[in-house]
Amino acid sequence: MTAMPDAMFTSEPDLLFDAARDGPDGLRTEEMLINMGPQHPSTHGVLRVLLRTDGEMVVEAVPHIGYLHRCAEKIGENLQPYQFIPKTDRMDYLAAMNNNHVFSLAVERLLGVEVPERAAYIRVIMAELNRIASHLVAFGTYGLDMGAFTAVLYAFREREYILDLFEAACGARLTYSYITIGGVTFDLPERFIERLAEFLDYFEPKIDEYDRLLSYNHIFVKRTAGVGVISAEDAIAWGLTGPCLRASGVRWDLRRCLPYEIYDRFEFDIPVGRPGGGGIPRGVVVGDCWNRYFVRMQEMRESVRILRQCIAAIPAGEVRAKVPKNVRLPADEVYFEGENPRGQLGFLVVGDGSPIPWRVKARGPCFCNLSITSHVCRGVLLADVPAIIGSIDIVLGEVDR
């Protein structure tokens, strides 16, 4: 590869749009427009990224979304809140419990409903289990993006057990609609807590195994360290949240910083991105792909910690507050954000005195996280584009809603 002058990648946009120009050695070079997606193995769904490439270099990457748009917000304006909960499952389908949770919390705030103690614990258990499941998929598919095929099967093996637990609790394996307004739909089945403890004992050492397999793998580190670096300022400015924000060194987690539900009762840390050295591979920078990946690995450990505390403290009692099915929403509005595996999921629910909300707005974390793509994928290699998009860990169901 010949070295390209830096000016080629940082110059004026109109210069970048020139189809052909004279290269450094008097060679006539031509840029190529190429569609990555909507059907592409590493766009994690139906994302289309329009790449303008100069050889192996990506000059510009423009994401095009909307292939999965179902206008869930319009549906939300036509359904009662409890009817909308299954629709939230279909947004971030890898973290459906968390979506149910956040939407229920938003509506509960609007209605002023208090959730019973046991229900709150069950919600936290489900949310954290689903966080682990979601991060497992992120870990596995990121390995796949990097060409390491084995990680994904390990991840799905463990996720399978979590899905079994969910199935035991609510009968569904992907779209649960388990957490609902006022609590949860059913109490936990028999032996659920024992099985959960069994799973945690099994799962915790596995994270070390993943670290040995992938996180500290020399090639993996070479592929991800220092790639797609997002500074803390950029991350905040582009509205990044969740692991993507924390990887940039911002120690910000709604569960700790603005606790909701019963998260203030638990002891856990907020993992953030760290520079290389002291156990972290050399070459790693704060805010790069490796840190975004590794923050998720550490968050799984923290979730295990929270789950263990839940197991120790879960009380007996009611699992659902008395909320009438046909409750009229007050003529008020509420905006509530909760910490999802991929970032802060927000719901704006506007009531108008009828049982059906006037407006439901979902602020998807993936939507905001993805918007930084074209900023980061500039002057990177073609192989870095899957690395960056994979490390942002999007679910197109939520981007397009």
Binding site: I65, G66, H69, C71, E73, K74, E77, N78, L79, R109, L110, E233, D234, I236, A237, W238, G239, V250, R251, W252, D253, R256, C257, L258, I270, D332, E333, V334, Y335, E337, Q344, G346, L348, V350, I356, W358, R359, K361, R363, F367, C368, L370, S371, I372, H375, D400, R401
Partner: protein, 177 residues
């Protein structure tokens, strides 16, 4: 910092930019005149007392009875803490701007908060509010040749799109249960 304090700060800096908005709700928001929004946004971001660096959400609400579309900007200010401690939330605030339904527009803040770029495109796409000075104001979720803005309350569902038959539940043109 409470929303009232944020409102009074903006009010003292831009006396003619703030309009009255109810503050005793679950989602208190400062009312701002559309024309002055850009200056207010810069003030919100750069004023050392406020420093709203995170645009959390931009929602559009179609208030069809009042003939306007209400835009709600949810802002948050993240403040770094010392080593190893979680960052703190300096302030949470919302800004409410009403624009007319027909041909309404307001200045874009995509250069103030880059996060607004896609949010504004979404509002443009689904509610038909245009943003002046937006770098790339195209539809984002709907196809480029889509007709109408789906989240408007008087939106009529298309019966057909490029030969794909469209139907709603019970065949209603404008469903409302």
């Amino acid at each position: 910092m409470t929303p009232e304090e944020v409102a009074s700060l903006i009010g003292s800096a831009f006396p003619d930019a703030v309009v009255d908005a109810p503050m005793n709700t679950l989602h208190p928001a400062v009312g701002v005149v559309p024309d002055r929004w850009r200056e207010v946004a810069l003030f919100l971001r750069d004023d050392p007392r406020l420093r709203f660096n995170l645009l959390r959400c931009l929602s559009g609400v179609d208030r069809i009875a009042e003939g306007r579309i209400e835009l709600v900007y949810d802002l948050m200010s993240l403040r770094p803490a010392g080593d190893g401690r979680p960052w703190s939330c300096g302030a949470v605030a919302a800004v409410r701007i009403g624009v007319p339904r027909d041909g309404g527009s307001l200045p874009s803040v995509a250069d103030v908060w880059p996060a607004a770029e896609w949010h504004e495109r979404e509002v443009y796409d689904l509610l038909g509010v245009s943003f002046d000075g937006h770098p790339d104001l195209r539809r984002i979720l709907c196809p480029d040749d889509w007709v109408g803005h789906p989240l408007r309350k008087d939106y009529v569902f298309p019966v057909e799109y490029h030969g794909i038959p469209g139907s709603t539940e019970f065949g209603q043109r404008s469903p409302r249960h």
